[in-house]
Symmetry: C2
Subunit: 302 residues, 2 copies
């Protein structure tokens, strides 16, 4: 097979839409898809101040690389979660990536900041759930404290399809009502967007490779084999015989999301009395879990 466009040497065969592409035309294809996704869902305006959360993994690195290349005003935030060697390697990789891309990278050290990294926090909730809360909170607070009005995450088509499938299997209609490529700005909370929403993990890995991005792919030592990983495998198996299944499933979900929206009540958000961030209770779940007495200050000095 030859590249569909230039008949040159094939670098990748994309399954849906089916086509073989050389390196150059795969890069072009990939970036066009990101551009199209941003436009289609009205994710980012040229004047936006964009914060990208990165962990060293392929998704954050790739979305940073592409947004920078497309000329957006982006900076990165990496949270050092304090999980031993894992966090050290993750940080090292983030530093290589951001210097390779030439983008400013802020680093928040959870343990320095609060006295407790993920391992030290005491809670009855699973570690992965606490960690998720911490990451979401710090990214939002950092964006608020430093005037970012858009938060970008690296979620891809496989993430979204498996997340939706898991929520359908559990009939978690609340989650099904709220999931999507953009989460609009709400009070203090900046808009959140997912520019890789329509791209698969395979495409993202191939893109990282072809543009020379080093990626950190170790699993967190706390991570249990998540059910969403099983769903990813299942969906990829169906995708083999029925290319486009994941895409159609996710796009079909977006078309039908209104069915679930009818079910949710909009809980009015209060302000956390410690930190002032939106909260469903008197104290937000981050300040509560980390037993904070005062707001953490994430303003960048100088």
């Amino acid at each position: 097979m030859k590249c569909k466009i230039c008949k040159g040497e094939v670098y990748i065969t994309i399954k849906y839409p089916k086509m073989a592409l050389c390196k150059e035309h795969f890069i072009e294809y990939f970036e066009k898809r990101v551009k199209k996704t941003i436009k289609k869902y009205e994710m980012i305006k040229p004047e936006d101040k964009v914060l990208i959360a990165i962990s060293g993994g392929k998704d954050g690195a790739v979305v940073t690389y592409v947004l920078k290349k497309l000329g957006y005003n982006v900076e990165c935030l990496h949270i050092n979660l304090g999980i031993g060697e894992f966090s050290k390697k993750s940080l090292e990789c983030v530093k290589k990536q951001t210097s390779y891309i030439g983008v400013r990278c802020h680093i928040v050290d959870l343990k320095e900041l609060t006295g407790k990294g993920i391992p030290e926090v005491k809670s009855r909730k699973p570690k992965c759930s606490i960690c998720g809360t911490a990451k979401r909170y710090i990214v939002s607070k950092f964006a608020c404290d430093n005037g970012f009005n858009v938060i970008v995450t690296g979620h891809n088509l496989d993430d979204e399809a498996s997340f939706i499938l898991n929520n359908v299997m559990n009939w978690s209609t609340g989650y099904l009502a709220r999931q999507g490529p953009i989460l609009p700005q709400k009070g203090k909370l900046p808009k959140k967007v997912k520019p890789l929403y329509e791209l698969t993990e395979e495409e993202i890995s191939s893109y990282a490779e072809v543009v020379g991005l080093e990626v950190f792919s170790e699993k967190c030592p706390f991570a249990k084999k998540a059910i969403t990983l099983e769903y990813k495998e299942m969906l990829n198996k169906i995708e083999e015989t029925r290319p486009g299944t994941k895409y159609r499933f996710v796009i079909g979900y977006l078309k039908n999301r209104h069915l679930f929206e009818k079910e949710i009540e909009d809980i009015p958000l209060m302000e956390c009395k410690i930190c002032g961030m939106p909260s469903s209770g008197e104290v937000c779940s981050f300040c509560r879990t980390w037993e904070l007495k005062e707001e953490i200050d994430l303003k960048v000095k100088g």
Copy 2:
């Protein structure tokens, strides 16, 4: 391990709810589950005249065996589809099953009746779709013509879970609005019920074996590997590590079905001008596909 109830020799280990049972107590458990399902969804009343569609497979045979044992007024209907050896073996097995159970069995020969079996029918639709139409039509017409007010089918938990999953994957909200353990009577069409709705294929196969029912398990030569079979395998894989997944998925669906109901309009049914059965057009899809000029008569003589 020993039988949970009598400490006797284990015949089967049920995965959800997890328990080991001897033959005797498995039979008791299985029949109680069927009874409970019939009661829970108000499927059959003692005075009902019940028609069961059977093909020789385990599901129809088992549901017939249990309903007969529970004292319901049941008769069977087998449709000879005229698919060569497959249909011959299927018919032979049905005869053995119904004589073993001691239940009356009516046989409708599609080719004798209309001049065309499944292989001879011309249509652009896939054979499996035509065959489904023919079976549903003949069972309904037979019930109407002979005063049956309830139609029983052998659909099980695995059928239902994979059917729902397939419709979720395609976001076929119309199907999702209508699926369930009972389909209420509508005009001429008798009520349709699925007494094995909450039992798994594995349980049904084990029950068939333990009560000595011979079953026909050959696949129809026209059958393509259906996507629902892939979903069945996937669901069984998840079930291994997370017992109860299929059950919770189906029950959760029933609790949330109203979300999809809002979407459908109730198309008023007309009467087919050939046969008088409910139809969405002037001529019903059976009479149209079989190019019938007059109603087929399914009244049992004598």
